[in-house]
Symmetry: C2
Subunit: 228 residues, 2 copies
Amino acid sequence: MIITKAGRRMFPAMRVKTAGLNPHQQYYIAMDIVPVDNKRYRYVYHSSKWMVAGNADSPVPPRVYIHPDSPASGETWMRQVISFDKLKLTNNELDDQGHIILHSMHKYQPRVHVIRKECGEELSPVKAVPTGDGVKAFSFPETVFTTVTAYQNQQITRLKIDRNPFAKGFRDSGRNRMGLEALVESYAFWRPSLRTLTFEDIPGITKQECLLYSNSFPERGCRIAIRI
Amino acid sequence: MIITKAGRRMFPAMRVKTAGLNPHQQYYIAMDIVPVDNKRYRYVYHSSKWMVAGNADSPVPPRVYIHPDSPASGETWMRQVISFDKLKLTNNELDDQGHIILHSMHKYQPRVHVIRKECGEELSPVKAVPTGDGVKAFSFPETVFTTVTAYQNQQITRLKIDRNPFAKGFRDSGRNRMGLEALVESYAFWRPSLRTLTFEDIPGITKQECLLYSNSFPERGCRIAIRI
DNA sequence: TACTTTTCACCTAGGTGCGAAGAT
DNA sequence: ATCTTCGCACCTAGGTGAAAAGTA
């Protein structure tokens, strides 16, 4: 996932649905992003793999993205797909825009928090999410990603260009790029109902980065079912 | 004010500040727009005046614009300038986008409502704002305006073009338009602190439409001070 | 005649990866 | 050598009034 000084959206964005909430209870929904391990990585081009390259950099200031619809009733949350597309990532440890601060070349796991309103402790964009009764955290292993300041992997670059509407300008529509096979393959991405495509099918893409794309397929959207 | 089928923003937008709210109480803030009188108007070009042209058309479905930050604490509301720039006006009586429905060629008065949360009656975008304890309405005579589907008055057109960033394409920067005097005058608009300009200074502009511009001058912003 | 609707060029605002330049 | 930063062209998304066409 690209991170910049100014802040960069994740693409694709996390999208979740909730079930089992109390319809009349008010909740906050928030996201934070935690390290997967204590390592720093580098991308080894000839083997197309991320390799451990030492220990993690020192921790960054904690940040929480509070979903802008918060607070809302369980009924409201359950009625909609909850999208985190406005969330931004930065590598600027002095960021004052409320973006989530991460280290480049590290592995991270996004987490979704459902927080019952007025459950005692307070929710803040610059403090760790409280734990305890009335707070539940959810994470989806397929959404683990590696942070970079520039793409290391051509397949990832191509997926981003092909699927992010804002990158349309970089799609070189068949000019020197796609054979028929590639065309069919990319079409399968857009119409996943036509065949069940698992991301391991795509050669040369790390499982972590690749699987994150599944979030943008509505029919594979992450779901969380809880009662708190 | 222009109204269209698809919905058109007001320009300038209403902006208000609140004071005297209970910091820990939750409030909705909303706007509706009510007829000033029971008349329909037409613009008489040679006298540059709006003249009564019959009785008002039959009432339109009631609509309320609930400020998107609602609900929020008194503390939150008082900390910010509350802008209604996303509000849209339409002449489509069958509108299903939640826009405020008005008749063209009529005079209207926007009203700001401050509604204590959980004060019994419920707030809805398609029902009249409830009245009673815990609800207060404010209106500012200088924000009365006349609805049109196309501008009737060249001075208004020019004010809109000169001051709305989205109309920049129609500013013909001095080509066949502004003499030095006009330039100085328009500069005075942007730097009102330099001299106290009352809108009656501008010849040929109806007071109502003209004064609405005062809302976009921060130092003349409407204020409401209440305790409910 | 007296509006209203539709389409359009021209903007604002801001999200992309590229590639040259910068940093260590 | 290996990242990171910055300016940029190229997009999406949507807010303007002009002008031509529509309506009654």
